[in-house]
Symmetry: C2
Subunit: 465 residues, 2 copies
C-alpha cells in the first residue's frame, strides 16, 4: 500500500460522526434516548443542514442544461443572459462538451473581474483556472511541489488548528506537514515568532516549499487582521515560501471584521513583497451559496514561473461544466436593475444575516458558561470553544481510554444528541481542549442546541467536580 494514503485520516469516518449516525438509526427504529434527534453541528454541508439554494444560481444551471427553458417566461432575463454567456463559451454551445483544462474562458474572465472588483487591483484572467472545489485546487498546486529538494523531502507549513483535509492531501502526496500554531489570545492570529520557530525546527527533516493560510479560518472562525496578513507575507518572502491561501470563506465575515485578501495586501506592500508566488482558492461550496455538491471553484495564481504555470495548467483535468456555471453565478451575480436582483439580495442577506446572528449568539452563550471560553466568531461558520476540564473529568476520560476532548464530545452526543468535533481532530496545543461547532443549524435548532449545550455542561461540571 501507498504509505501516504495509508496514513491519511479519514475525516468522514471520525468515530464521533459514525456514532451520531448510529444514534440516528437507533432513533429511527424507535429507541428511547434523552433527545429526539441528532443536531449535526459537526457538518459543514450547508444544504444538508437546511440552507436553501440561491434561486438565481439554480435557474442558470437549468437554463444551460435545458436551453428550451429559455423560452419559458417564468425564468428571469438576467438568468437567461448568464446562461447564454456560459453556453457561448462552451464548444458547440453545449454544457455537455469538454471545456479547456483550465475552464471556460468567459467564466475565467468573469472571475478576474470579480477579484478586481474585490481588491481594486488588476487580475489577469489567464492566471485564473477553474477547479472542482478548494481541496482539489490545493491538491493540484501541492502536486507541483511534491519532489525532493536538496536531497530532502518537501514540506508545507500548515496552521494548527486546521481543517484535516490539508494534512490528508499532504499525506497522499508524501509531503511533510509542518504545523504552526495560531494564537488563541490574539483571536487565532499568527505569531511571527511561532512561524520562525516552526520553520527552523523543520529544516533538518524537510525542505519547506509553501505555507498554507486559511482565512477566514476553519475551525477557529477567525478573520486575520491586516497586520497578520502582512506578517505572513514578510515571513513567506524571507523564507522563500509560496503562499497557498484558502480564502474560500471570504464571503462570510461578521463582527466588524474585514476580509483582507493576501493578493491585495502583498500588491499594496509593493516590492519585494508584491512578487511573492501566491495561489488563492475560492469555491461555491461555502458561504451564502453552499453548493458543495456541484463541485466548483477557482484558483488565482500570481507570480508563478511561466514554465511551471504551464505545467500546472497541463496537469489539470477539466472540471464539471455545471460546477463552472455555478462559479459564474458567484462571480457574476445579479446586479442592481436586473430582474433577479431584489430576490437574490433577499435570499443572500437572509442567509448571511442569520450567520451573523448565530455567530454572535454562539460566542455570547459559550462565554456565559462556566468553564467555557470562546473567541468571537469573526468569519466562516465555526466556533472553537475551549473547555476547562475538571481533574475528575480528565480521570474519567483516561479511564475510558479517550482523549479528554473526545470524552467530552461523546458525552455531549450521548446525552443531548448534539454532534460536534473534538479539537484534537484539528490539532490543539498539548494540555488544552476544544471542540468545533458550526453555526449552520437553522436558527430554531441552533437556539435549542445552545440551550441543550448549557444544560449538559452544567451537569457535566456537577458530575466531575
Amino acid at each position: 500500500m501507498h504509505q501516504g494514503i495509508r496514513n491519511m485520516e479519514d475525516y468522514f469516518k471520525l468515530p464521533i460522526v459514525l456514532r451520531a449516525k448510529e444514534l440516528e438509526e437507533e432513533l429511527r427504529t424507535g429507541a428511547t434516548k434523552p433527545f429526539k434527534k441528532i443536531i449535526k453541528a459537526h457538518s459543514e454541508d450547508c444544504h444538508a443542514l437546511g440552507q436553501k439554494p440561491i434561486t438565481f444560481l439554480r435557474q442558470v444551471l437549468i437554463l444551460v442544461t435545458y436551453p428550451e427553458l429559455m423560452k419559458d417566461p417564468r425564468f428571469p432575463e438576467d438568468a437567461k443572459e448568464r446562461a447564454r454567456v456560459i453556453l457561448a463559451g462552451c464548444n458547440n454551445g453545449s454544457i455537455g462538451s469538454y471545456s479547456e483544462n483550465s475552464g471556460i474562458e468567459t467564466i475565467r474572465r468573469h472571475c478576474a473581474e470579480f477579484i478586481e472588483h474585490r481588491d481594486g487591483i488588476h487580475s489577469d484572467w489567464q492566471n485564473i483556472t477553474l477547479s472542482p472545489g478548494t481541496s482539489g485546487g490545493i491538491r493540484n498546486i501541492l502536486q507541483l511541489l511534491a519532489w525532493k529538494l536538496n536531497g530532502k523531502d518537501p514540506g508545507v507549513m500548515i496552521p494548527k488548528p486546521s481543517f484535516p483535509l490539508y494534512d490528508a492531501c499532504l499525506q497522499e502526496l508524501n509531503m511533510h506537514s509542518v504545523p504552526y500554531f495560531l494564537n488563541e489570545k490574539k483571536n487565532w492570529g499568527v505569531d511571527l515568532k511561532e512561524l520562525n520557530k516552526s520553520f527552523d525546527d523543520s529544516t533538518s527533516t524537510c525542505t519547506l516549499r509553501a505555507i498554507i493560510v486559511n482565512n477566514p479560518g476553519n475551525p477557529t472562525g477567525h478573520v486575520f487582521t491586516l497586520q497578520n496578513i502582512q506578517e505572513i507575507i514578510k515571513f513567506a518572502y524571507n523564507r522563500s515560501l509560496i503562499i497557498l491561501a484558502d480564502e474560500s470563506q471570504q464571503g462570510n465575515v461578521y463582527d466588524g471584521s474585514r476580509f483582507h485578501s493576501v493578493k491585495r495586501v502583498m500588491i499594496e506592500m509593493g516590492p519585494p513583497y508584491c512578487d511573492i508566488e501566491l495561489a488563492s482558492f475560492m469555491s461555491v461550496s461555502k458561504g451564502y451559496i453552499g453548493e458543495s455538491g456541484v463541485r466548483g471553484g477557482y484558483v488565482e495564481v500570481v507570480n508563478m514561473d511561466p514554465d511551471v504555470y504551464q505545467m500546472y495548467v497541463k496537469s489539470l483535468v477539466c472540471p464539471s461544466s455545471l460546477g463552472q456555471a455555478a462559479v459564474h453565478c458567484l462571480v457574476d451575480a445579479p446586479k442592481e436593475g436586473e430582474a433577479s436582483y431584489r430576490g437574490f439580495l433577499m435570499e443572500k442577506n437572509e442567509i448571511l444575516l442569520s450567520f451573523k446572528e448565530k455567530a454572535k449568539l454562539c460566542s455570547e452563550i459559550m462565554n456565559s458558561i462556566n468553564g467555557i471560553t470562546c473567541n468571537p466568531v469573526q468569519g466562516a461558520v465555526y466556533a472553537f470553544p475551549r473547555i476547562t476540564m475538571p481533574a475528575k473529568a480528565l480521570n474519567a476520560a483516561k479511564y475510558e481510554n479517550q482523549l479528554p476532548d473526545v470524552f467530552y464530545t461523546f458525552q455531549l452526543l450521548e446525552k443531548t444528541g448534539i454532534c460536534v468535533i473534538p479539537g484534537s481532530t484539528f490539532g490543539q496545543k498539548p494540555g488544552t481542549w476544544y471542540f468545533r461547532t458550526t453555526i449552520l443549524p437553522l436558527e430554531e435548532e441552533f437556539g435549542e442546541m445552545l440551550k441543550g449545550f448549557r444544560e449538559f455542561h452544567t451537569k457535566f461540571l456537577t458530575m466531575y467536580s
Copy 2:
C-alpha cells in the same frame, strides 16, 4: 519542477490541434483557404461535434436541480421518478449537499444492477464507486500502486497504440509505462507472446503492478474477442497483475462484434482466474450519451484486498452530484412501458445507428483508397488507418523535420481543413504510419470529409511518387 508533470505530454496542445485552431481563426477573419471550415475529426467531444444530448437525461438533471419543475406537466413521470430517487439519496434532499466520497448509495446500487443485467453475474453495490469520469477513476486506482516494490519503481503495462492520457497519468504519478503492442493483423487484438516479451523486458527497470486494457479501443476502434480477453486474464493471473479495464465505450459496438466484459469472462473462467483483482471503468462521456462536460462515471472493483479497498475509498473526493445524477440516467434508463421510453429509444438508436453506418462507411472508403488500409471499426468511435508512405513523401517529411505521419496530417489539414491525429501520438511500431480519425462528425460532414480525404490522398500520391 515535479519531473513527472514536466514529462507529461499535453494532449490538448498537440501541434496539429493548435494549427487547426489557428486556421479556424484565420477563416473567421476572412482569410482565403482551399476549404471553408475545419472538420474536427481529431476531437472526441461528442456534443462539440453536434451530437444531441439525450432529452431524458437532461430532464432528470434539471428536475434534481430545480425540484419546482416536478409540478410541470411537460416533464414525463419517469424522469420525475428518477429525480425523486436521486434526491432521496442526497443529504436533506438537495443536490447541493456533499455525497459520500464513494458516491450516492442509491446510484451505486443502480450501477450494480446495470452491471448484473449486462453480465448475468452478481455485482455488489459496495464494490462500486462513482468517479468524475474515466481518467479520474484510473488515476485514483493507479495512485494506490504508486510505490516502490522490491526496491524498484512501479510499472504498468499499457497498450500501444493507446490514448495518451494513460501515459500522462503514469508520468504524473512517477510510474513506469511499459508498452505492449496490439496486433494490427488480428484486428488490433492482443498476442500472448507480445505480452510476455513486454513483461520480461521490463523486469530489470521496474516492478509491474497492473495491465491497462482498453476495450472497445481508442484509437483503434477494435473490440476484443472472447479469446483475447481470456488470454489477458490468464496472463494477468500468471504474472500477478491487476487488470484495469477501461470499458467506457462498451455501449458502442458494431459490425457483428460483441462486447465481453473482463468481469464476466473471468468469473465464467472460474478458479483461479475468477479471483483476479480487477477495476473496470465506465463513464457518461462516451457513447450515445456523450456528456463529457458533466464529469460522471463509475468504477467497479472486484477482489481487492478489503484493507486496500478501504484506503481507496478514503482517498476519493466526492464527485459532482450532477455527474452522479447523469450516471444514474445511464444505468437506469427509461424502460418499456415508461413515458419516455419511445422517445429515448429513438434518440439513442439514431445516434448508435449513425455511428454504425459511419463506422462501416469509414473503413470501406479507406480501404478503397490506394495506399491506405484500415481494420473494420468494430467499436468505440475511431478508425486508425495505415498509410503506406511513398519514398519521396518520407524524404519531404525529413526535409520538414517532421515524422512522416505528422507531415501527412499537416498536409491534410492545410489542404482540406480536415484535422486528424498522427499515429505517433498513440504509439505505433517503428516504420509504420497511421492517423486516427473519429466517426463523430455528423453524417453530411462525415461524407464530405471522406470525399475530401480521398481527393487529398490521390493528389498526395501523385505529388510524391
